[in-house]
Symmetry: C2
Subunit: 334 residues, 2 copies
């Protein structure tokens, strides 16, 4: 089969397997992505139920790669290792790095005998507070830190999303993190609450007005006292009802409120002040990360970088830590 | 028609007309309820759409009272005066009392010529903050203050619910208030969020364990820093996932978190400390108010009273302020 790829270069199949999507990467020894594919076969949307669904989704995505390179190692990260996944890879505790993940990896073996090495998630279990968990983000973080020893030494990594993560990194390891239900809360309020009734479908046509509404939400959040959030959320309705704010701007204002609350708490928990030397990094979807950059700018914090799609590089590092491929930098000498 | 009621005593028909229910009270000159009825014909659940729906719901509930006493005045409060109501009675501004409400009442007249005098809601429009609104609670407060000049002088009135109100009263008037979306947020999170998946239907069988989970939620809320709420809400999931808390207790813990946040903000905005002399009153559904009493107890605040169903007495005062009936205390001398 002609894949158009130099057969000597392929070294790894890496799967980023989440709740709603499955992404596959054919990677070289050097950590570069040679080919990339995606389907909607997330773990809650498999072609058939159960283990057979995982096998089939994997075969559909990577069958020709496996035919061309039968001996390539395969790794996977994300919800595929959860209790609802292919094989459960229980959480490892902080502090954690790719070696920790590799030491507790789980293995799913297909009917054809292909071994898929699955990364565990990470548990943060602080004394006197509720535990917190991540699954998938630890791989993105490993990717972000791959070629940046300065960030690996000490950084605050922010991964915005349905369940945003604020992650503290020190000496190359995840030392602690906090999850915020920001994205899910935003969706719930827009779709199911009394606020949604005042919100037209679609976004604001006037980008400057939308930005001003977002910024106003962030400022309101910053000025809040403990416990104010559900009061401020109700005010989204009142602002619409009294026509103090145009209906098409209410979503931006609500987004600013929720992100503003998240970063107020996140920065405080990270012990981070605006003039702190510790770099703050954003990882994730570009449009969403730009919102966070804007909100952070309003409070005087300037992210050191905004990164997208660091999962393949993280899976490559995980594979190296698991001994499936040579670490980058070492194979040159092999 | 024999209503079983001394015809000399009936003085007023009072309607408490909300979103999901309609309650009617036949009242005496002395403010006592002689008869009481309710239907599910709230303004979002009328028997037919539009104005005809209001007329029909009113006729079904009170037709025989109107037949027996054709000249009785009729008053109404609640969502019936909203933009989606029978006739809109626009909000009056704080400070507001029953005279203010009466001066801005709206009137709906039925096909048969019966006048229904509808109370407006109240707008709180503080400088430098979003406006807030209430509709219906102002009537409940008027009822609560009716025979208590001590409370009318200065009080903090808390009306728990879908949209909880914390209301400041001074010199017999509502001077300001804040709404919290506590009840709606709780319902949204239980019904539509990822948290709900871990929560079994029904409540906890073990009342002591449920109370402990609720108290733990309140304590966690009290210890929070600004912006922590969406992090603490995610922790409800993590506590369930890691089996640190039994699934049947997660709802009580979440309830404690949300109520704890509300009262932290509410007490701070009321400028109220535990040893404050200003009475704090709870008005509303008994079971829900008992939760608030418990939460307040945990922070050292002891409500002066817990009141239910003060709306009829408030509507009676509103009718007197509108000149439809004699104020209590004056008719004895007439």
């Amino acid at each position: 089969m002609d894949t158009g790829i130099d057969p000597e270069r392929a070294a790894l199949i890496a799967l980023d397997w989440g709740t709603s999507s499955l992404r596959g990467f054919l990677m070289g020894r050097d950590g570069l992505v040679l080919a990339e594919r995606a389907t909607a076969h997330g773990i809650q949307n498999l072609p058939v139920p159960g283990v057979a669904g995982f096998e089939q989704a994997f075969a559909e995505l990577c069958g020709d790669w496996l035919a061309a390179w039968p001996d390539l190692p395969v790794v996977a990260g994300g919800m595929v290792g959860s209790a609802q996944g292919w094989v459960e890879a229980p959480y490892v505790s902080c502090p954690a790095d790719t070696r920790t993940l590799a030491s507790r990896a789980a293995v799913a073996t297909t009917a054809a005998g292909v071994r898929v090495v699955i990364a565990p998630g990470v548990l943060h279990d602080p004394a006197g507070a509720a535990p917190d968990v991540m699954r998938g983000e630890e791989i993105q973080i490993a990717g972000a830190l791959a070629d940046r020893p300065d960030w690996a030494r000490a950084a605050c990594m922010v991964l915005p999303g349905t369940h945003s993560k604020w992650v503290r990194v020190a000496d190359g390891r995840i030392t602690g993190f906090d999850t915020y239900m920001t994205g899910e809360m935003f969706a719930l309020l827009c779709r199911h609450s009394i606020l949604g009734r005042l919100m037209p479908d679609g976004g604001a046509a006037d980008a400057a007005a939308a930005d001003a509404a977002f910024a106003e939400g962030v400022r309101t959040a910053r000025a809040s006292l403990p416990g104010d959030l559900t009061h401020q959320i109700f005010a989204v309705r009142t602002l619409g009802l009294t026509r103090r704010m145009a209906p098409e701007l209410l979503k931006d204002y609500l987004s600013g409120l929720l992100i503003g609350h998240e970063l107020t708490s996140g920065l405080a928990r990270a012990g981070r002040s605006p003039d702190d030397g510790t770099p703050l990094l954003l990882i994730g979807d570009g449009a969403l990360c730009r919102r966070y950059v804007r909100a952070l700018e309003l409070v005087g914090v300037h992210p050191a970088a905004r990164l997208e799609n660091t999962a393949p590089r993280g899976l490559h590092r995980f594979a190296a830590a698991a001994g499936l491929i040579a670490p980058i930098g070492e194979h040159h000498h092999a």
